[in-house]
């Protein structure tokens, strides 16, 4: 193999969209291949875990890991990638903040296993058979990874150097990030490799956002004839723009759909859901509890709306007091 810098891709609990976004580099991927060797990429190349294990520690320049973490196998793999890589990048919303899989942190493990193996309408399992961690047959043992109690972001399991946000990150950001990391001029450790401004700054509808926003009713886009020019919040549609990092070039808003927050918060915000809640709710045009509640009833699922990508990395991390959350009283 040549002495070009080595790059690896790995996926954990992900949908494949992040892998797709690498392919979306289109002909730019040729530029990437000119500059680097891809030494590990389970979705596209036939290298195995043992090939990675055989590499010297720190011999991969950059590993881009996408997907949230929920199993012991994923922990083992990201530990391995961490050891072998100089730079570990959390790629995409799931690795960055837990992403959509993080919404499973509203349920306990038993609820999820019971639904998946017994109750789902497409499942026929009268004996209630569940996968076991270990199974012996004819003197041989097969094992399965352990399914954790909760979903985690990558940095809740290993040290992460940089984050590339988005569901998925745009090819433009990926290209810029690779060029930056290959140039050797590294940004501060822990940086999110996207502009540190709110999406509203990037928004083509910015000028139609009233300074004093007054929301009298929340509407859902699918039941609404959405004005394609006017600020979505001014139309009563929950848009995460004010509390979400820009850099996506307002793709969803340009498609006449509200921002759902996949780029995560800016560096000044610790808990994206609480911040957007704060921003949206303070614009509710009512002063009595009853009237405020009536307007806010237009947001039927506040956790799923405000923490759509960020629940696992939020301050609370998961629902409390579920069956497997038992705490010793000091």
């Amino acid at each position: 193999m040549s002495d070009k810098p080595k790059i690896a891709f790995y996926w954990c609990a992900s949908c494949g969209g992040c892998e797709e976004s690498v392919v979306d580099l289109a002909e730019d991927i040729l530029m990437v291949l000119d500059a680097v060797d891809i030494v590990f990429w389970p979705v596209a190349l036939d290298f195995k875990k043992k090939d990675v294990e055989a590499m010297p520690d720190g011999s991969i320049l950059v590993s881009l890991v996408n997907g949230a973490l929920r199993t012991s196998e994923q922990e083992e793999m990201v530990q391995l990638m961490r050891r072998k890589s100089q730079i570990l990048v959390a790629y995409g919303s799931c690795a960055h903040l837990g992403g959509i899989p993080g919404l499973a942190n509203q349920f306990d493990r038993e609820q999820i296993l019971k639904y998946v193996y017994e109750e789902a309408p497409t499942v026929e399992n009268p004996q209630g058979i569940r996968p076991q961690l270990e199974h012996r047959e004819n003197g041989r043992t097969t094992t399965l990874p352990e399914f954790w109690k909760m979903v985690r972001s990558l940095d809740q399991v290993v040290e992460v150097d940089y984050y590339l946000p988005g569901c998925p990150p745009t090819p433009k950001l990926l290209k810029e990030a690779l060029l930056t990391l290959l140039s050797g001029k590294l940004p501060a450790k822990g940086s999110v490799l996207a502009p540190d401004i709110a999406l509203c700054e990037d928004c083509p509808r910015k000028d139609s956002k009233p300074t004093d926003l007054k929301i009298t009713e929340f509407k859902r886009p699918l039941w609404t004839d959405v004005d394609a020019e006017k600020c979505l919040l001014a139309q009563g549609i929950v848009c995460m723009g004010p509390a979400t990092r820009g850099g996506c070039e307002a793709l969803c808003v340009r498609g006449n759909m509200p921002c759902t927050g996949c780029f995560g918060p800016t560096s000044r915000v610790k808990d994206q859901g609480a911040k957007i809640l704060s921003s949206v709710c303070s614009s509710v045009d009512a002063n009595t509890e009853h009237e405020i509640d009536r307007i806010l009833s237009g947001i039927p699922d506040p956790v799923g709306t405000f923490y759509r990508y960020g629940l696992a990395a939020s301050l609370l991390r998961r629902k409390l007091g579920v069956r497997d959350d038992v705490v010793e009283v000091k």
């Binding site: 012991s72 922990e75 083992e76 530990q79 509203q106 352990e146 954790w148 109690k149 909760m150 940095d155 809740q156 399991v157 290993v158 040290e159 822990g190 000044r268 915000v269 610790k270 808990d271 859901g273 609480a274 911040k275 809640l277 704060s278 709710c281 303070s282 614009s283 509710v284 009512a286 002063n287 509890e289 405020i292 509640d293 806010l296 947001i299 506040p302 956790v303 405000f306 939020s314 301050l315 609370l316 991390r317 998961r318 629902k319 409390l320 007091g321 579920v322 069956r323 959350d325 038992v326 705490v327 010793e328 009283v329 000091k330």
Partner: protein
Amino acid sequence: MSQEPNRKEKTGSQDRWEPRIVAFFCNWCTYTAADLAGVSRLKHAPNARIIRVMCSGRVDPQFVLDAFARGADGVLVGGCHPGDCHYQEGNYKALRRFQLFKRILHEMGIDQARFRLEWISASEGEKVKLVVNDMVERVRALGPLELPSRFREWDSELKTSAEAENVEREEVAAHVG
């Protein structure tokens, strides 16, 4: 239903647990009322750690979550009565936010008695006493929230503890927006 007090009672423990309440009081009304309660020598439970803010509208819901995440058992926010806000409508903004915030706490399994928003004017020292005492008793009945212990317990399923790194991250994250 909120289901959070899912805890093992430790028996034979000598030191009794005391609720820790973080109280954000607005400078113009509730903090002045707490001051009045003090100079009037009203006795109330010592469990509330009072933080003075300029307005109840300044209390970002992140502050409340952060207090819980760092070990508070309850959070109390005190502001001026509706119509009395020094900044016209800061307390209305607080009310609008916390009406939805309470729904989120409920869905995340935190008992609603752990969070309270109260209007207490500068002359209502007596109300500070009543509210603090009442809240301490309600939270005492619920027991400890102990989020830091829960976080440690949750992460005990990891083979390699991320705890050492977490300490480092906490320092970096000490700044809240």
